[in-house]
Each structure stands twice: as structure tokens, then as C-alpha cells.
């Protein structure tokens, strides 16, 4: 078969080739931003942010804490909602399907207001941080449920027949076959979802959870340097998501078992 001429599969560029092309990309991007800033006569001074370093650091940590907390809880919710959709008790099946449908069909901002001010108030949940993590987890859990469901469906029937023929119990089949196979296949999608969690957590600022974005808003009210503040905070978010992507690439390589069909 002929290689696709537009895809790089099988082509191996040299190191110099790679570095020079990375340089081109960086140059173009930086140049474009610099030009834009210059055109509107903006003078950026990031030095003023230095005095807020403690608050930024606190906000940064809070964003990490909320994101990791939400990741754990949403994985749990997602797993239940994924399995629940296949479960034989109809009531549970419909419940899980409805949950996924509604959450995926409405904006996070609306959900935050609704859950915090109506549900949260009604049931006396006052802690913003706990409420924040729960709301974010409910939101991301619906997406994770779909990722997990897709992973389970990608496993062909023969894998289960092999497990049966080897005399494995249902539990052993789950532990040694289904779970590792599903995990290896959904790691890239899960990593992408984790990046979304990190970015989505910024919306929790609307219920005054003092994470990175809320911190930035407060600082802006103090120093009136919106542009510097938000560019810098964007850079911090990027640091986090970039770390997640890099880690996931490593894992992906490790858990990638080529399938021959």
C-alpha cells in the first residue's frame, strides 16, 4: 500500500529539522501577539504581579486541589453511570441515562448556579469548596461515563470467550481482562478530560471559590491590570494542562498495545 503523502507516518525528520521548525512556529506566534499588542498601543508590565505572588500561589494550589479532587470523584461517578447504563434494573438504567443526557446537554455555568443556589441551599451545603468539587464532578462524570462506556464497548466478544475458556471467574475476568484493556484504551481520552476539568474549574469563581481565576479577579480589582493578570493566569493554566498532556503521552506509549484485527 502507498503511504499517504500528507500524513507523516513512517517519516523520520532529523533533530535539526525538528528544532528549526519548532522555532518557526514560536516565532510566528510570538510575532503575531507582539504585533497585536503593539497595534493597540498596549504596554504590558508583568512586574506588578510579583507583589501578589502568595495569593497567586494559593489560588494555583487551590485549582490543583479542586481539579484532582474532582478527577477522583468524577471517575467514580463516571464508572457508576457507565455501568449503570448497561445494568439490568431498568430504573437505574434510565436514571443513569437521564443524568448523562441532562448534564451533557446544559452549560456548566447554569449547573453551577442551579446546584449551588437551589439544591445546595435547600440541603444546607454551605461549604463552597466541597460544593464546587461536587458540582464539577457531577459535570465531568457524565463525560467520563461516555468515555468508559465507549471503552467497554470497544472490547470484542472473543476476549470474554477466551476468558471463559480459561476458566476465569467473572471477577477475575473483570480484574485481569476488562479493566486493564479498557484503561489502556481510554487513557488518552481521560487525560483530555482531566485537562478540561482544570480549565472548567475556573468557572467555580462565580460562586466565589478562591481558585486561580477568582484570585485573578480580586487582584484585578486591586491593581487594574486586567491584561497582564489574565495573560499570566492563562499561562499558569497552560502549565498545568501541558503537564497533564505530557504525562499522558508517556502513559499512552506504555499502555499502547497495537491491535491486529
Amino acid at each position: 500500500m502507498k503511504e499517504d503523502r500528507f500524513l507523516t507516518k513512517g517519516i523520520n525528520p532529523s533533530k535539526f529539522h525538528k528544532i528549526s521548525h519548532i522555532a518557526i512556529v514560536v516565532l510566528v506566534l510570538v510575532g503575531f501577539v507582539w504585533l497585536s499588542v503593539h497595534l493597540i498601543g498596549l504596554e504590558l508590565d508583568f512586574g506588578t504581579l510579583f507583589q501578589y505572588r502568595n495569593r497567586l500561589w494559593q489560588g494555583f494550589l487551590m485549582t490543583i486541589l479542586i481539579s484532582v479532587g474532582s478527577l477522583v470523584v468524577s471517575l467514580f461517578i463516571g464508572l457508576i453511570a457507565a455501568l449503570g447504563q448497561e445494568y439490568k434494573v431498568l430504573f437505574l438504567q434510565y436514571f443513569c441515562k437521564t443524568y448523562v443526557q441532562i448534564i451533557r446537554g446544559t452549560p456548566l455555568l447554569v449547573q453551577i448556579y442551579f446546584f449551588y443556589y437551589i439544591i445546595g441551599t435547600a440541603w444546607g451545603i454551605n461549604n463552597r469548596y466541597i460544593a464546587g468539587i461536587v458540582i464539577l464532578s457531577l459535570f465531568e462524570g457524565a463525560y467520563i461515563a461516555e468515555i468508559i462506556r465507549g471503552g467497554i464497548q470497544s472490547i470484542d466478544r472473543q476476549k470474554y470467550e477466551i476468558a471463559i475458556s480459561l476458566g476465569l471467574t467473572s471477577y477475575q475476568t473483570f480484574r485481569f481482562v476488562t479493566f486493564p484493556l479498557v484503561l489502556s484504551r481510554i487513557i488518552p481520552a481521560l487525560a483530555g478530560q482531566f485537562s478540561s476539568i482544570i480549565k472548567d474549574s475556573s468557572l467555580l469563581s462565580v460562586i466565589a471559590v478562591i481558585e486561580l481565576t477568582q484570585t485573578t479577579q480580586e487582584i484585578s480589582a486591586d491593581n487594574f491590570r486586567m491584561f497582564e493578570n489574565y495573560i499570566f493566569v492563562g499561562f499558569l493554566y497552560f502549565l498545568l494542562t501541558f503537564a497533564v498532556t505530557t504525562l499522558s503521552k508517556k502513559w499512552e506509549k506504555r499502555f499502547h498495545y497495537e491491535r491486529r484485527i
Partner: protein, 244 residues
């Protein structure tokens, strides 16, 4: 091993796969041949306890096989299965694939399981494959690891569903040689195959399955020499047309 199929039928939704299959004999080495879609895989999967029949009974050594997971678990320690292709777990190395049933189903300790696996690898020329994942092996090597895994638990009967049909000719010979050796050691086999040479020379009995039921059965030599039905005659003419 005494096997009896009593009026077994299998339907998938409205699709008939087997219709009133009857068979009763001591199996030592049996080849199953027949046209595509005739129900060979379905018959073998019922025999292997992978799917249950829609109607009828299966008796093994005079005892009715019950198709619930618990009863089947004991059965699977006596009856191994080799799939046409992709029969290994892709996330495990050859060694892990082979030791999995030893440790998990038989409850053997890991060291002993590794020892058994290694001696099988040694014997079948697979020792340099032990740490490889399936995608790093050729199809023939994968099939031989599959067979090694199936026989590692010392089953009485080994079922193979077209184990060589996805392989190049030189790998086919490797796999068939390995099977022949196991048969000589007393392993009972039931194999669905398109390798007529193997069916004729390496299998004692032959079963011709067509249109979802048994059309002919007997000693391989006899059946090949004197096909009784027009159906088998034309099937053989067809598959042997291009043989040298």
C-alpha cells in the same frame, strides 16, 4: 472422551446455526470440515462451553453438561480452546498469557506456573518470545503461544477452530507439527480445519457438517475415499481442486 450431542440446535435471533445435530462417539482426534456458514464454529463453541445450545443436550462422558458459569468452570479445566486468531490477550506478554490460567484458575503458585510456561516455550521453540506482547509476534508464533496456553493446564480435550486459516503456509506447518506432537502424547483433539491433508492423515475420524447439520461421519480414510453423499463429493472436489 465420550461425547454425545442429542438433538442440538442453535439459533441466533432468526438465524439458524445448527439444526438437530446428533452425534455419539469416543473422541480421540476428530476433524470437522464443511462449507462456510455451515455451523462448524457454532458446534465447536457449544462443545467448548462458550455458548449454550437453544435446544438439545450435550453429554460428556455420560454426564449432561450444564451451561451455567459455575459448572462450566470445572469443565474448562478439562477442555481447552484455541481461536482462529487474536486468541491472546494483547495487554499481556506471552508468559503472562500462559501463566494466567495456571495461577488464577488452577491456583498454582507463580513460580511453578512460570516454570511450566518456560518448559512449554522451550519445547515449542518459543523461548525468545516469552517477554513479547502479541503485536510483536508473527501470527504463527501467536497461535503456538495460544496452544501452549491451552495445553498448559493439561486438558483432556483440546478444541481448535481453524487455528491455521489466518496463517502463511510455512507457519501453518509449524502449528500443525506442534498439534501432531501433542496428539501423539494422548491429547484428544477436535479441530475445525480447511487443511484436508491434516484432516486425512492426522485425525482418526472426520465429521462433515453442512447446512447446519451432520451430513457424514466416520474414519477419515474411509470418508475421504468413499464419500457417500453428493454434497461431500462436490465439497471435496471444490477444496481439492488446486491441490498439488
Amino acid at each position: 472422551m465420550n461425547v454425545e450431542f442429542k438433538a442440538i440446535s442453535k439459533y441466533f435471533q432468526d438465524q439458524t446455526a445448527l439444526e438437530n445435530v446428533n452425534f455419539h462417539d469416543d473422541v480421540s482426534s476428530l476433524a470437522i470440515i464443511g462449507p462456510s456458514g455451515g455451523g462448524k464454529s457454532t458446534l465447536l463453541r457449544i462443545m467448548g462451553g462458550l455458548i449454550s445450545p437453544s435446544h438439545g443436550e450435550l453429554l460428556v462422558d455420560g454426564r449432561q453438561l450444564r451451561f451455567d458459569r459455575k459448572s462450566l468452570q470445572a469443565y474448562h479445566k478439562k477442555v481447552g480452546f484455541v481461536f482462529q486468531s487474536n486468541g491472546l490477550f494483547e495487554h499481556m506478554t506471552a508468559l503472562e498469557n500462559v501463566t494466567l490460567p495456571l495461577v488464577q484458575s488452577l491456583g498454582m503458585d507463580r513460580k511453578e506456573a512460570v516454570h511450566i510456561a518456560d518448559s512449554l516455550f522451550e519445547r515449542f521453540g518459543l523461548h525468545d518470545q516469552r517477554s513479547k506482547h502479541p503485536y510483536q509476534m508473527s501470527g504463527g508464533q501467536q497461535q503456538r503461544v495460544s496452544i501452549a496456553r491451552a495445553v498448559s493446564v493439561k486438558p483432556v480435550l483440546l478444541l481448535l477452530d481453524e487455528p491455521t486459516s489466518a496463517l502463511d503456509p510455512e507457519y501453518t506447518a509449524d502449528v500443525l507439527d506442534m498439534l501432531r506432537e501433542l496428539q501423539k502424547e494422548g491429547l484428544k483433539t477436535m479441530i475445525v480445519t480447511h487443511e484436508m491433508g491434516f484432516a486425512k492423515h492426522a485425525c482418526e475420524k472426520l465429521l462433515f457438517l453442512s447446512h447446519h447439520t451432520v451430513v457424514e461421519y466416520g474414519y477419515s480414510n474411509d470418508v475421504f475415499k468413499n464419500p457417500k453423499t453428493h454434497e461431500l463429493q462436490s465439497f471435496l472436489d471444490l477444496v481439492l481442486e488446486w491441490k498439488v
